[in-house]
Chain length 298, copies 2
């Protein structure tokens, strides 16, 4: 059975009753709610749920119904950039599901919410219709406040729905992508310049690894610095390679890796591939993991 | 839902029709058959199946029925030591099951097959009634041919069933243990003495790690040597610690680790704990593995 995960971000992080109603609507569809992470400063909440394609579709439609009824972006202020009441909705293949199935699901959901709510929809990442729309930041630039002007330009006509911003809900960005791993490495130093240089060395945008986003940050309360990363395709740019590269770059400055952190969930295969690499296991397959064999048993 | 695995060894490795009948009988109970590994030299087959306690119990009783009807140890010759037609039956906690539940299941099955087949049963490992019966090799010493004399001694009275050997099926050893990992490390050398010295350094019996059995072997066709190991409790003696110790001992002789091998199945947690160790992940929990979160989702 195919399992797809969806990790929508909505522009509400403060009213608990709204978040509770969203969670209840998701659960009522049979999808498994994995996580609800509100951020009051950003005034934004990340949901995570999974299930078969039909459950995940129903849960996402239910979330749109709740969020669009409750959120008015004209009254919304938060630190995080946002384009819509339901801001961004990625579908992720987890088990027995292909990226193509996630792209198809993204298009189905986009079509249905555009019609049901009169909402403009942009498709992004692997579901993007053109390379210019792959990147979320490009689509979101100008935010809700700039949307009316942006959407009128031919190059920013939406992929589904009307070419006018929804008055209270703006527009939504829906797509498909690989599982993302939030991975941070803490350095045994307070030298922020070192963290920034390492981030620049490993991230894709400045010459580093293809599927790494990174920045150097101070952890002021602990007196240390962090290389804070998103790994956007662990199959092609594996965790262990990122870890070893950061460690080597840090050594260049006489700095040790203190520890690393995995924030939130991580696919099992991202860890088993790392274990197999460090342990130098030859001919290792995911089918050797007992729990995988159990799921696929004869 | 609790999942228990059972990995019985039967004294038949040549007649495919007998093995097919055993496999069919196991599958008919709803247990998932994970593996069937016959060895013609040993004249012995290892089955592996898993399911909830009721399924695993039914599958084990069905396997006893098939094997005892088909196997006559008076006609059996093989290289591997054996005491019974169904030689050894370990139950292993996999998911949501405790060792105590596996011990209880071992006793239930022992009681039932003893009554049904008039078969003497010894309990071993975590199900053993006394420390002297923990170790399979001690129980099996003397084999089928020596059983009639051994079982007459008061200290070898069986835990269930009559104190006389079954004429064709001998006796069976049933118990509970942690998942066992068959783990080998191949060295980039043909020096057998180095493999033997490393095995002696890391195994429990000669002063090494508590849950490691090890021996040094030549891989003659490849011109290299191997440290061949069984890891009997990966939670207390983790794979990464064994790997690092073997690597360090090898370096003492100027030898590199060429690669390692995991034979058969390995519990997911054994690899995720290794990945977390090598990656220096702080505060890692198994609940962060996406697949685990999915199974336990709200």
């Amino acid at each position: 059975m195919a399992i797809i995960e969806c990790i929508p971000n909505i522009s509400e992080g403060r009213r608990q009753d709204v978040l509770d109603a969203c969670a209840a609507a998701i659960r009522a569809t049979g999808a498994k709610l994995l996580d609800v992470k509100p951020d009051t400063t950003h005034h934004r909440t990340v949901f995570s749920y999974a299930g078969d394609p039909a459950q995940v579709k129903a849960a996402t439609l239910a979330l749109f119904d709740q969020a669009i009824a409750a959120i008015d972006l004209r009254q919304h202020q938060g630190k995080h950039p946002r384009l819509g009441a339901v801001d961004v909705v990625p579908f992720v293949p987890i088990e027995g599901a292909t990226m193509a199935e996630c792209v198809a699901l993204a298009r189905e959901v986009a079509d249905e919410v555009a019609t049901r709510h009169g909402l403009p929809i942009y498709l992004y990442e692997d579901a993007a219709a053109t390379p210019a729309r792959r990147n979320l930041e490009d689509i979101r630039r100008g935010e809700f406040e700039g949307l009316a002007a942006k959407i009128a330009k031919p190059e920013w006509a939406p992929d589904f729905g009307p070419a006018t911003a929804h008055p209270s809900a703006g527009a939504s960005v829906i797509g498909a992508r690989m599982p993302l791993i939030a991975y941070n490495i803490n350095l045994a130093t307070d030298r922020l310049d070192v963290a920034k240089k390492i981030a620049a060395a490993v991230r894709h945008s400045t010459g580093g690894l293809r599927y790494v986003k990174a920045m150097g940050l101070p952890l002021e309360d602990r007196g240390i610095v962090q290389v804070s990363m998103n790994l956007t395709n662990f199959e092609k740019t594996p965790i262990y390679r990122v870890f070893e590269m950061v460690k080597r770059e840090a050594a260049r400055y006489g700095v040790n890796v203190l520890e690393s952190e995995i924030i939130g969930l991580v696919p099992s295969a991202a860890l088993t591939q790392s274990a197999a690499w460090f342990l130098q296991v030859s001919d290792f397959t995911e089918g050797q993991v007992l729990e995988n064999a159990l799921r696929l048993g004869q």
